[in-house]
């Protein structure tokens, strides 16, 4: 909403024919106070959303905890011990120690308190406390997500637009088929096929995060691990060979993700553009004498992009989760890979933490997306 927008009464208008200084109209302008209230309502909105977010996170923690309670105490103990694996004979003692047979609400708050203290348990699969494992594995996932998300969105928007503009012509049919096939492919299958063809047959794009030599460099001494993102760190360390190596290994998983997930954006963009094209303001634009190109670019595209923005948040969060399979196939040691192994080996702390973390990401990203949307769409009133 624009600051200082006048509050016009219906039908009130003034004719200023010959005497420009004569205003025969009545209107109320809340100029300065309006500006204030505009900012206030934005703050209001953010605060309300944050509170809501906290509420949802509590709910998520409840959910996770209920899942936790389904697990027999013997396995749950690992969530409470931070430093090392528990020898089997001590399990009973541990259970008593941590009160794992107490009533559920008591345990819940105790568990919650533990989490707030930062004590998240020991992960058997990571062979380290959960938080350390997280610090080790998260950047790998983040890197892949950061590389694929923009590509997915751009490819999806581009092809979706083309499909809408050339509706019912060969290009459109091809794009629709591409979208629906991409939507139906199992994540793991495409990845395996790509690996088989490119790596197995052509010998390029091997799985893993780095080649063996690069690995030695990165984990050796003299390497400044600042962000954990291999490509960024490589630039910071001014090792362009490592940079290229990391890119080389990221390429195939990115292609995999782009093929699969851009289908979603493609379909959404296409239908959103078609819907925008059917609107009355397009008719007005044509009647104004706007050439087709301008109609598409200026009028239709902005309106069509709005739903896509909304879904980008979901996409981002969904990608984080989809990493489970992609990382398993391409053997990239990120949180998805960690989670898959943890599930197989019943590493409770790791799973619980990952679920909580992903919930946090999802809610947070949604909040950001909503704010962006509110900033872009002038119709959204934050009051």
């Amino acid at each position: 909403m624009q600051a200082g927008a006048p509050f016009l009464l219906d039908g009130a208008c003034c004719f200023q024919h010959n005497n420009p200084s004569h205003h025969g109209c009545i209107y109320v302008i809340k100029s300065s106070s309006f500006q204030e209230s505009n900012h206030l309502s934005l703050l209001n909105y953010i605060i309300r959303r944050l509170l809501f977010m906290i509420l949802v996170l509590f709910g998520v923690s409840l959910l996770v905890f209920s899942v936790l309670m389904l697990i027999p105490p013997g396995m749950r103990v690992a969530a409470y011990v931070t430093s090392e694996k528990i020898p089997p004979d001590q399990i009973e003692a541990m259970i008593k120690l941590y009160g794992l047979n107490d009533p559920a609400p008591v345990q819940y708050f105790r568990w919650l308190a533990k989490i707030f203290r930062g004590d998240l348990g020991f992960s058997a699969t990571a062979e380290a406390p959960v938080l350390d494992g997280f610090k080790r594995y998260f950047p790998v996932t983040l890197e892949l997500v950061l590389y694929s998300t923009p590509l997915i969105i751009l490819v999806g928007i581009w092809l979706g637009t083309v499909g809408a503009i050339k509706k019912d012509r060969p290009a459109d049919h091809a794009i629709r088929i591409l979208a629906i096939v991409g939507y139906s492919l199992p994540t793991f299958w495409l990845g395996l096929l790509l690996l088989m063809f490119f790596y197995g047959f052509l010998g390029i794009f091997p799985p893993g995060t780095l080649s063996v030599e690069a690995n030695e460099v990165v984990f050796g001494s003299g390497w400044n691990r600042i962000t954990g993102l291999l490509t960024i760190d490589a630039i910071i360390n001014w090792r362009w060979d490592i940079f290229l190596d990391a890119l080389y290994h990221i390429a195939l998983p990115t292609i995999n993700l782009v093929i699969l997930d851009s289908a979603l954006i493609m379909r959404l963009m296409r239908s959103s553009m078609l819907e925008a094209l059917g609107q009355d303001y397009v008719r007005t634009a044509l009647a104004k004498g706007a050439p087709n190109r301008v109609v598409y670019q200026t009028h239709v595209r902005r309106n069509a992009l709005l739903p896509v923005i909304t879904i980008s948040g979901v996409l981002f969060a969904g990608l984080m989760a989809g990493m489970v399979i992609t990382e398993t196939i391409f053997v990239r040691k990120g949180i998805g890979w960690w989670m898959a192994r943890a599930a197989l080996q019943l590493d409770v702390p790791a799973i619980m933490f990952n679920v909580l973390f992903l919930g946090l990401i999802f809610v947070g990203v949604n909040l950001i997306v909503d704010l962006i949307y509110a900033a872009i769409d002038p119709r959204v009133r934050l009051g």
């Binding site: 709910g59 199992p186 898959a340 599930a343 197989l344």
Partner: protein, 314 residues
Amino acid sequence: MSTEVLTEDMKTQGPSRHPGWSEFVFSMKRLFKNPLTIIGLAIILFFVFLAIFAPILAPPPRAHDPFLMPHKGWQIQPSPPSAENPLGTLPSQYDILYGVIWGTRNAFRIGIAVVAANLLVGLILGSIAGYFGGILDEIVMRIADIFYAIPILVMAMALVVAIGRGLSSVVVVLIILNWPTYTRVVRSEILVVRNMDYILAARASGASHLRILFKHVLPNSIFSAIIVASMNVGVTVLIAAALSFLGLGSDSGYADWGAMVATCRNYIVGPAENRLAYWYLVFIPGFTIALFVLGWNLLGDAVRDVFDPRMRRR
């Protein structure tokens, strides 16, 4: 002086059929004009055929559990397609063709069980939330929000770990995790319908809540739920396959497509002379899944194109 021209129509035009029926016929005709629908239906019918005639097409070696795949020999290395194993074998010599055919039954079981159960739950909960509103609505929606906050696959993994592995856990887990989608759809439809005048009229003439719900509200809201259901079967099967792939579904040797794909991870690259040696292993089970999901997605898309009131008549 504002005057309007009024004309009354006292006769209906055309044959006096029940309007619902002619709409239905129109929709069906529209449905079948789309080539993608035909392809989708063909695919699904093909799989239905496979599922129904499984005992004939691939006689189970062990009658008590037909889902255990047969294997001749214990050689780990998979064998390429041959007369004996038309589609080749998995590691440890499990016949792929057998797995594909019996896996169809599995896939249908999972897909339909989950979707049907979810449809029911969604209708009930959605109706309650949408129709009665108020605090009931708030509670249901907040819980749905919480479920939405965590991606399905991850949550499914956690639940499967908690409940224990196996196919039945997968089904249970998926039912538990999918209910918000259906509930939301039903609820939003009911919210729209609830405020319509004919509901007010029904209440004014003394109909009870239950009667209104069943006779007036639900029939109008059920369409969207069906559309969502038909589009959801594919996604459900994909997630179930993903869980099996990760090893959280059935055990090895069981006719489950996802598990079959999982076995090929060590055989992506063949020996140096023929690097694509195990192509059948990588390609075939996954292709079956893709085809199955594609069929359902095509059908779901076509159903939505036809029944979605906003997109008709284009």
